[in-house]
Symmetry: C2
DNA sequence: CTGAAAGCGCTTACAG
DNA sequence: CTGAAAGCGCTTACAG
């Protein structure tokens, strides 16, 4: 049988109220009493009943996190960052996947039932529309968004525009004028403000250098290694192939790198390649890329969430800087 | 204000007991009544209070999962598999990281308090020692282990021995006799039965083919891309370099591939390479490897856990088969 | 600093 | 099929 607060109270010769106070480190408990209670609890293997605490206290100490997936590099990095902070402050993490539209809808439907399960919710790349955002707000949960700026809610993201600008600029600095964008031709940009920002950054860099973006240099393909392969194939079919390509993600870039090699295109002498992410395989691939410290996004989000417990919730946006990492896939054009 | 079961009962003109039964789909409720209750609940936006339910009912509908990390390929794949199944059966997933010895200890210490938070626990690559296993058992939580066989607990893993055997055998079939093992010189094998099994598989394949394992062919390095680089460097320093290498993981193999290329060693003509995992970047790299369907491990574990709710818990071990995927990094020796 | 008591919102026998 | 009531194990004013 589990020991209850009653058992501890009896054994320690105090009331349950005192046990409750002592266990939670509240003030106004004599040191002597506290010691005795803690000792007794330890001896009986007592741990408060979670449900009873949350019913009586109104708080759960659990934080939720929704992300599209967990098996992709980005989300898994955020997850680890969040987990570290939360476990250090002895909160637990409940995760929800919102991969398909149905799962998202189901998740949103469950919001009312989540309110008694978690104290706050971290949204990773959630990109809610107005209705969804309203539902989220009305839930009353503490909210932190990572990966996007959400009006009125605390949010954290990297500077996507700046990252893409720098990647492109690095290529321009090396003398390239014909620079393609791997993944630039996307089906639905509305769904991902992140990609839209990167594409804008690429364009801005070109324009600031007096270069004209060319439609045929916006290459298709998903941001995966398969997409990178497709982009390279498309590039090789161009009448005037570019001398450099900026891929919107490292996985895509690495897929592109492999395909370029396969098709006999030497990198960087015939084609310079820049990625985006600094994926954990990027160093091995020698890939020049934009490093985004994703784990840190998770850390900051969790810290923000933990801070909510104390002070009140402010909805400001925080931008984490990115960094250009030059490795071996870029050089001047020949 | 949240609506409570009282509110619904009053509005629907029934008792709270009836609301409770109707909401949970229990039998012995008139269809008419149920409809009315559900409608009212819907209208009031009622959702049962989680803490109250678990306090009164004794069950939480939450499942825990511990893994060393979540940002590594393997764990994140398992996680996604588990999440899919659990969310489909409307259970929630709470995650715990046991990366450092301190975190493991902390996690184990919290076991008594977890009992009222979760109904069951999925252990991913946990490798508990006897004491830890006893603590786990005594918690009374439903247990499922993935990645290892745990005496007396339901467990699921791939056939590590067989996978390594096949990888090595593929190399032997192609005519290689000098086959190195990337990652074969590990510091502490006790900690990872998984690696021990793979190493055994490699040795067994050699011996079955009448080949002698050579100590100097057990290459050091962690199972990461950095480790792969180190292994290749070590290999190139050997007096009689092997013509093939089996890496204990794909990330390691990909790191090795990159380093081989950098040092001017052509794959596969000068060195054949086989990995283990079928990591999502392996296809792009053209890497011949052993595919382990990790996501499926997660699916099976979660299904097993869900089944526990109904029937009783049986502690059998389930082996998920692996598969050799031949791509472009292997050929005969020259 | 400490205790008695109400209350949190459910579920579950027990009757009917 | 339905309801009244006890009970789950805490926390929190309120007194003292």
């Amino acid at each position: 049988m589990r020991a209850t607060i009653q058992d501890v109270a009896r054994e320690a010769g105090v009331s349950v109220a005192t046990v409750s106070r002592a266990m939670r480190g509240m003030t106004h408990v004599a040191e002597d009493t506290r010691r005795r209670v803690l000792e007794t609890a330890q001896r009986l293997g007592y741990a408060p009943h979670f449900g009873a605490s949350s019913l009586a206290g109104g708080t759960t100490g659990m934080i939720g996190l929704v992300a599209p997936y967990f098996h992709i590099w980005y989300a898994s990095q955020v997850l680890t960052g969040v987990e570290h902070v939360l476990s250090a402050s002895s909160r637990d993490l409940v995760i929800f996947a919102g991969d398909t539209p149905e799962n998202r809808a189901r998740f949103l439907d469950r919001l009312p039932s989540l309110v008694t399960r978690i104290d706050g919710l971290i949204l990773v790349d959630f990109f809610p529309n107005e209705d969804e955002l309203r539902a989220l707000r009305e839930s009353g949960l503490a909210l932190v968004a990572v990966g996007e700026e959400l009006p009125g809610v605390a949010s954290i993201s990297i500077d996507n525009f700046e990252g893409a600008y720098r990647a492109t600029n690095h290529l321009i600095d090396m003398g390239h004028t014909n620079i393609a964008l791997g993944g630039g031709r996307q089906l639905s940009l509305d769904a991902s403000p992140v990609l839209a920002l990167r594409i804008d950054g690429y364009r801005a860099a070109l324009e600031d250098a007096g270069l004209k973006p060319r439609v045929e240099y916006d290459l298709g393909g998903l941001l995966s290694s398969t997409g990178g392969r497709a982009a390279i194939d498309e590039l090789l079919d161009l009448a005037e192939p570019p001398t450099a390509i900026f891929f919107l993600s490292d996985e895509m870039a690495m897929g592109g790198l492999a395909q370029a090699r396969r098709r006999g295109l030497h990198v960087p002498s015939e084609l310079s390649v820049v990625g985006f992410d600094d994926h954990n395989m990027a160093e091995a691939a020698g890939l020049t890329t934009i490093r985004q410290r994703v784990r840190e996004l998770g850390v900051l989000a969790a810290q923000r969430m933990v801070a909510f417990a104390d002070q009140d919730r402010e909805g400001s946006h925080e931008l984490v800087p990115v960094e250009l990492v030059v490795r071996h896939t870029t050089s001047g054009p020949h």
